[in-house]
């Protein structure tokens, strides 16, 4: 019943400790860009995850792949956990035939971000992960 193209976009400006959010559901393009170290990472990320999950639940399998672009120059430990949860959820949808792609951007000197991207790529085989060693390419 729900027309997924009608799901309104989520657009949030960056703050010092939270990234810019641009979830353009109609374009199947979700972007997180900036820094992530909110005091309460769950309070910031959970509503975003829920919105994406609700949208994906209604999305027919085999349609246009969803692209999630993540370019974070720094993310704290609790944000790391929430990001991991987010990717795990996308991996689940991908397994059901709803293709999901993660574009993980990192500074080539930032080994921690690079390793996290590799970790995600190994852990979630249904999710197509593209590692991009250029933070500003997003």
């Amino acid at each position: 019943m729900t027309d997924m193209t009608l799901t309104p976009a989520i657009v949030l400006a960056a703050t010092p400790a939270t990234p810019e959010v641009n979830f353009d559901f109609a374009a199947h393009r979700l972007v997180l860009k900036g820094e992530a170290y909110p005091e309460n990472a769950a309070a910031f990320f959970r509503p975003l995850l829920q919105a994406v999950e609700e949208w994906l639940n209604d999305k027919p399998a085999g349609s246009t792949p969803v692209q999630l672009h993540v370019a974070l120059s720094y993310f704290n430990s609790s944000s790391t956990k929430l990001l991991f949860e987010f990717f795990e959820s996308l991996n689940g949808f991908a397994r059901q035939g709803k293709a999901c792609e993660l574009y993980w951007y990192y500074d080539p000197e930032d080994d921690i971000s690079e390793e996290f991207g590799q970790e995600v790529s190994q852990d979630f085989p249904s999710l197509s992960v593209f590692l991009k060693a250029e933070l500003n390419a997003c």
Binding site: P16, E39, N40, Y74, N76, K81, E109, I112
Partner: protein
Amino acid sequence: MKQHMKMSDLQVKEAVLLPLITLQRQSAVELFYTGYFSQQHIVTMGDVVRAWLDKNESSLALRRRLFSVFIEMGQNIVRYSCDERYLGTGKEELRFGSLCFHTAPGNYYLETANLVGHEESSLLQNNLDVLRTMSQAEIKQAWKQGLRSEAPATSKGANIGLLTMARETSEPLEYRIHPLAASSLSAFHLKATFAHD
């Protein structure tokens, strides 16, 4: 006689924190704050730490590690520091503690001191004792496992905060716990060392 004047409970609590942070003679203090911590303080002090590092440290990897430990330490104070000086404004939480960023030839240091409850102090002691015996490879492995496990109900953040700090430092994390007389609280001191060129 002045020295016989009894210190108030709060004075005792304050007096116990500051001597925990030990500055060597050749240390230069870049940032030292004692008082209430909120997320806003952390963001602002983080800008100072970053500005200092941008000017003085050329390795992005090391700048990121130090900033990362600074954020984890500051947020641990906001989340877990424990005494009646807690202030909740409804919008944010403020908890009392002390944080110092200082440098010496060859090393950067981040240290914090704050009060913790009995349960928290034994948890910290157990976790830190185990961490101190682990190699970097083991710490990475445990960090990866921590990523996958559910956060315990008592944790407001991730339970991988300490693992993250241990992963970022070049020396094992150092800590001290001093129980306060006539109180269930302990003073907790944490020190992270980063070797630099």
